[in-house]
């Protein structure tokens, strides 16, 4: 019996499309012939909305882009605005920002490994990783009152000082983390099913990855050591010593390993920042009504998902003329078709999971 190619509609209400992504799959029995992502189910017109808001008002809305890494979004936008203003941020504020951003990277990667493992069928990992993620969210909650959409960074600094209580909480989280990561690694790293599902699946070469503009852990899993924190250090990242984990395989397994190793590096950065936290102000003087002379700036940071960029163009008023966000998930998702073609249907789920997309940031 000949099995004709069928078009399979995956999403927008599918358990493993990470939100409201829709994939138009053409499958020949189980083999995927074509993948076409259909976006826009979460499009909120953020960029248009930002044109009618003042500079500080935009910060809480950036939380809603990559909602698994809200602080990173805050940081990207705020750094772009500060660069546009030419504002010097106190060193203490820069360190606190680094602590928050790296905690957010930990939270994002923990959530990712859980979702990814759940997509591949190991549902227990999700709960284990979320236990630690909850602890990190508790830190955010204590620090600034929010858990998911934290609004943890302001133009010119941070809203609150890093007091001993929060620092102690962070240290406790970091102390418990290695054991939890080890549990997850022991469950997955060596498991034959996990290896079979991830190794050699969704391979992309370094050249293709650069061509597609892939950034973040998926790019570093192809052997390109591109990390903005090292390349163009921002927010005092040059003060910390850390490694950028790079692997050459370019498959799902290497993306998994890169992220697991990055978590350890993030923990190391946070410890350094806590130990070396300089005294001083945590907020620069920023006028209450912030007007920025005409100019334009493009600033990128290394968000958990990849390179997050903000283009901000001012026109002398208190509202930006244009804010454009370069979202890493949007760029990374473009590779999906390249990675999936010829693989089995089950792998689409794994590859999609390995890219770590968040629809809030893709659809803006």
């Amino acid at each position: 019996m000949a099995f004709q190619e069928i078009e399979l509609n995956m999403g927008p209400q599918h358990p493993s499309t990470h939100g409201v992504l829709r994939l138009k799959l053409t499958v020949d029995n189980e083999v995927v012939r074509a993948v076409e992502p259909v976006l826009g189910y979460l499009h909120r017109g953020m960029e248009k909305l930002w044109e009618s808001l003042t500079y500080p008002q935009i910060v809480p809305l950036t939380d809603r882009l990559d909602y698994l890494a809200a602080v990173s979004n805050n940081l990207g936008y705020v750094l772009a605005v500060e660069k546009l203003m030419g504002l010097e941020v106190p060193k203490r504020a820069r360190y606190i920002r680094v602590i928050l951003a790296e905690l957010q990277r930990l939270a994002s990667h923990l959530a990712w490994v859980g979702f990814m493992a759940n997509d591949i069928g190991a549902m227990t990992v999700l709960l284990y990783s979320f236990e630690d993620r909850e602890d990190i969210l508790d830190v955010f909650e204590t620090y600034c009152g929010g858990r998911l959409t934290v609004h943890g960074i302001r133009i010119g600094g941070v809203p609150f000082d890093m007091d001993a209580g929060v620092a102690g909480m962070i240290r406790r989280v970091l102390d418990g983390l290695p054991k939890r990561i080890a549990d997850i690694e022991n469950l997955l790293d060596d498991n034959r099913i996990w290896l079979h599902r991830t190794r050699g699946v969704g391979v992309i070469s370094a050249a293709d990855a650069m061509d597609y503009g892939l950034t973040g852990p998926p790019l570093r899993a192809t052997g390109v050591p591109w990390d903005i924190r090292k390349e163009i250090p921002y927010s005092s990242y040059e003060d910390f010593s850390f490694d950028v984990p790079v692997l050459a395989g370019g498959d799902v397994y290497d993306r998994y390993l890169v992220r697991m190793r990055e978590m350890r590096q993030s923990a190391q950065i946070i410890r350094q920042a806590l130990d070396g936290l300089p005294e001083g102000e945590f907020q620069a003087k920023v006028p209450r009504i912030l007007k920025i002379p005409p100019g334009e700036v493009f600033h990128t940071i290394e968000a958990p998902k990849g390179e997050l960029g903000f283009y901000v163009r001012s026109n002398g008023t208190d509202k930006p003329e244009r804010v454009k966000m370069k979202s890493p998930s949007f760029i990374n998702l473009q590779c999906l078709e390249r990675m999936c073609k010829g693989n089995l249907f089950s792998d689409v789920v794994g590859i999609l999971g390995s890219l770590d997309i968040v629809l809030g940031e893709i659809d803006k």
């Binding site: 826009g40 503009g213 100019g295 493009f298 473009q334």
Partner: protein, 160 residues
Amino acid sequence: MPEELTDRPDLLQVAEALRERFGDPVGAVAFEKGELAVRVRASELPAAVEFLKIVRGFNALNDMIGLDRHPAPGEGRKRFSILYQLYRFPGRLRVRLVIDIDEGEAVPSIVPLFKSAGWAEREIFDMFGIVFRGHPDLRRVYLPEEFTGHPLRKDFPLEG
């Protein structure tokens, strides 16, 4: 202290090379906040991108940004601009190519040079209605096909 391009010999070199290759009408070279922006003619864009990619080693297209200057484009500028953020890895160099275009003008697509431009160009088409000549699959990316208008244009009605 005013910033000078001469403080950044690496970027200066790129700017000089672009000027040399495409002649003076390459247009305004702006240096601001440590970022180099070079204006090129829309028709010469693929050549300029190719030159930067192959000769100068800019191997990543970070982003494409659309701009609408409506209603006051400013002196000597056209209504729309598209900004191409190029990055050289390794080397920490960023260059912004700027092209100006008017309503109804088509822009040559750079998808053959950078695959990452595929969705970026679709997004600009979606949001600004700028047509990219030679794009393999130019459709709206966010909004439904039957949507009328292009939301990021400044004359898009904010209230319906």
